[in-house]
Homo-oligomer: 188 residues x 2
Amino acid sequence: MSPRRSGGLAGPAVDLAADDRLADGLDADAFRAAFRNHAAGVAVITADAGDGPVALTATSVFSVSATPPLLVFSISALSSAAPTIARAGSVVVHLLDADQVELGRLCATSGVDRFADRDRWERLPSGEPVFRDAATRIRGTVVNRLEAGTSTLVVVHATHATSTAGAHAGPLVYHNRTWHALGEGSRI
Amino acid sequence: MSPRRSGGLAGPAVDLAADDRLADGLDADAFRAAFRNHAAGVAVITADAGDGPVALTATSVFSVSATPPLLVFSISALSSAAPTIARAGSVVVHLLDADQVELGRLCATSGVDRFADRDRWERLPSGEPVFRDAATRIRGTVVNRLEAGTSTLVVVHATHATSTAGAHAGPLVYHNRTWHALGEGSRI
């Protein structure tokens, strides 16, 4: 990050729109720095477009509408799962509890076979791979995609869900390369 | 929630796609129940489309691309800020630290003037209202909108940012109607 840019981010003064040097948009480092303190719930997304199961850990899942039941997530073009997600007609979104951090780590680790442990997952009757130990599993059909820079926003219409969330642990949260568990101790 | 629906959500068995009764999509209650254990970072979004400042608390902000620097959020059509956000050419996204929970509460409370305290906010040179005490403030232009059920996805190209995030507290997190602070105690 250049001194000019870090200076724009460092201070408490409001100088957001005063710096014409940034008129074409923040550089990537400054943008990442601004989002570094943003926390997010953790999900694992799975799909199979006909050539084998894929899974990725995502911190970009949120619900956008209850009627109809729609959720959205984003996937980077750099993700190994991106080509499959780009073609898949349906996905399973697993929302993780804190005691499922290992599943979150597994699906965030590149170069490993995320489906090597055959006991850990099965297939739905409709064909999608699903991890057994995720707290909440939502199956849905992809109803829209929107290109956004180097990522794609995927809009999913939820058709089925099952959940044991909160039975043993609070939700899993990711922040600045660390994993957190919400509970009474974190409550404000 | 009907017994049939709660039964589909309650058990540990994977029966997501076996229930044809849900073929047209989850009902709203079941969908909300599935997302109840999903946590999220907290943001306040402000804008002014020419007829006065608006602000809303959102748990639906994430970064989708660093090059170009794009973020997305969703806004419900029911939000009082929705008509302004629908017309605004630019917004400010404030990412909140845990010590800014009062600002998050203020902008989540309906029927109050979120700009009554004139010392709490100012205007950027480009006109957008900005709250002084938010940890991270990102100003950007709206580059795309996507209708998704009862909400609108808004894609924002970030042009400027300033941050003091993490200086005093960890990020603010929202989960199932409670506010949480991340810190060493919540770390896994």
